[in-house]
Symmetry: C2
Subunit: 221 residues, 2 copies
Amino acid sequence: MAARPTFKRLPRAVREQQMLDAAVKVFSRRGFHAASMDEIAEDAGISKPMVYAYLGSKEALFIECVRREGTRMMEAIVAVVEPGLPPDEQLWRGLRAFFGFVGAHRDGWAVLYRQARGQQPFAGELGAIRSRMVEVISGLLGRAVRAQGREIREKDLEAFAYALVGATESLADWLADHPDEDPAKTATRMMNVAWLGAGQLLRGEVWRPWSGDSARAAGAA
Amino acid sequence: MAARPTFKRLPRAVREQQMLDAAVKVFSRRGFHAASMDEIAEDAGISKPMVYAYLGSKEALFIECVRREGTRMMEAIVAVVEPGLPPDEQLWRGLRAFFGFVGAHRDGWAVLYRQARGQQPFAGELGAIRSRMVEVISGLLGRAVRAQGREIREKDLEAFAYALVGATESLADWLADHPDEDPAKTATRMMNVAWLGAGQLLRGEVWRPWSGDSARAAGAA
DNA sequence: GCGTAACGTTACGGGCGAGTAGGTATGCTC
DNA sequence: GAGCATACCTACTCGCCCGTAACGTTACGC
């Protein structure tokens, strides 16, 4: 044998994570179809049949990537959102966690989700994650509305939440394309859209981050 | 030869449109990669080499699809938005035209754009269209803000517009997935998000369509 | 220390689909 | 009605890349 350090034997769980890391990277850079299993394997420092042995197929591998990243993202969000807080603070915390996550996984996130949106086999997987987010947001808003004794149709709520999710994803793309932007500031921007809307913007109202518990929307200029 | 009605000879311009129609349909149903040139050709009632003779390559064909649909969409919008009207009415008109267009091209729009978002070669093409929309919206809002003697940073404006475009696209997807929904009503929903925001929603404020020129946001309940 | 199961490899099959070569028919021009 | 451009076809080539068969090698249990 050559000088090759044969210390490479690693347990399955470790290898699987390495493969997923490599897969996320390559899928991100090339897109699902343009990515080749050979490149992923090489990037993971392993040979192709191992990938098949552990993850099954290209499609399964991609789904696993989406699932892992999606789960991590959801965990990052739910970790900071505590029910019981006022709705705008919950929203703010969630957004800050979300953009923080995207900022930390710049290459990972955006392109992976940009990929999954289109391809039919994965629309379901991505749709499930988006559905959870829509649920969370519409639940949050719905409870807040009803807590004030008001009525609102479920479908209106769903559409509203859907739009907010879309806006947030869109700003995430924007963030991924502007590497010098600050995630927290992007979250603030999103808060201005989600909470205040264009009408308030024209009236000079601005939403500012929570510095403790007071200081909501600063009044008109 | 056989009984085949040989009356099929058509001028190039006509055939090109037929090919594009077929391509939009097939790309929509299958996605860019899964779509085969054979299927597109068959659907257009022509043979594959003709497609290559006229449109060049699969990639060029797809780009042409995006460009055509995008142009049509932009035309539908700019046809109804007249500068000089108050900003919220301009926004409302634009949104109504947009959702009307999407509703009328349900299969076309959503999936075509869902496709183009991911695939790298086309991101540019789609990005150009999105940029125009961002420009239009940020221009609209920027003028309105400055008309009131207020200042606003260009980047804030851009991010705001970007978020609105994302929200709108997201609701367009929603509309495409809910065939029984009314485009105009969806536009109204979007208006509630864009103009009022969640804060007003909680206060019971609702945005209602223009019936002529009066009747802006209906006051609190 | 030896069997065995888990880790790992090299090298190939084979399908699918983009793109093309080369040839035929039709209609327009003058 | 000859000539020419344009519309149109059948039948291929060929490369890429997913997935696998068949075969080594390390470490762990007992």
